[in-house]
Symmetry: none
Subunit: 156 residues, 2 copies
């Protein structure tokens, strides 16, 4: 299982290129396709990222499940209550690495996340996110505060 952890802040140059942290790249090491899948977060001003292998496993499991359930309609015409997955698929881009392990952030995604000249890569386990550094700082502060409250109130 590919695991993305830790956070890194890298620069975005004039051409829109950013180095994907070496640790993330080596986490993807075994995958045939060298690059990542990116799509906008629907809940935060951020870009979501996946390895290609993760995306494929997701789609395969979803496909299998709809066939086993006999829901052929969903498989063929996507008539499903869960439009979320399909919407994301349409918004997703394949971003290949250049020789130095960089990707080019699609303008639409960068804009939506408010990313200009710096980008923060945030590991989330099986996926990762790319934020504008200042927005992430803000978000992270709130995120940790919420967790601390919960932990001090409940179990360890």
């Amino acid at each position: 299982m590919t695991s993305f952890i830790s956070t890194y802040e890298n620069k975005v140059d004039k051409k829109g290129r950013v180095s994907v942290p070496a640790a993330y790249r080596s986490a993807l090491g075994s995958e045939a396709y060298q690059g990542v899948i990116a799509y906008p977060s629907l809940t935060y001003p951020a870009i979501e990222g996946l390895g290609r292998g993760t995306l494929e496993e997701l789609n395969r499991r979803r496909f299998d499940q709809s066939l086993e359930g006999g829901d052929f309609a969903q498989t063929l015409v996507g008539r499903s209550d869960d439009g979320l997955v399909e919407t994301i698929m349409s918004l997703a881009s394949e971003l290949p690495f250049d020789g130095e392990g960089r990707i080019i952030l699609p303008a639409r995604l960068a804009e939506q996340a408010g990313i200009t000249d710096c980008a923060t890569f945030v590991g989330r386990g099986t996926r990762f996110q790319i934020w504008a550094p200042d927005r992430y700082l803000e978000h992270q502060t709130a995120e940790i505060a919420a967790l601390r409250t919960r932990l001090s109130g409940g179990a360890t």
Copy 2:
């Protein structure tokens, strides 16, 4: 299952390197990747440590669980009630051993734990902690006193 026990105090050199106690290293012996995962404790001024295998299993189970439950959206956007795992992933670092079994403490983690030139490794079973020696001493005293009180007050 890897088991970390006992307490060790080691030096941190100018480069931020510390030897991981040999006993901990041999506890990880069977794991393919030689190193540990570290993240800040959210309740103490300390660093928490795990074997990589533990982290991988955590991510794998989370991934499988969301797919089997048909919650594909969670896999894609992490729309979930527990931000706990995702927050920890963002705060965690992979610390590989060098040839001598040392790791480099990330500045952020060391600072948060108040560690400068010495570090105390504390076995906690399936995970371990790294403390500043003086803070740990203090914490340990309180911890033991609290236990004594609880035990003498409760059972015969």
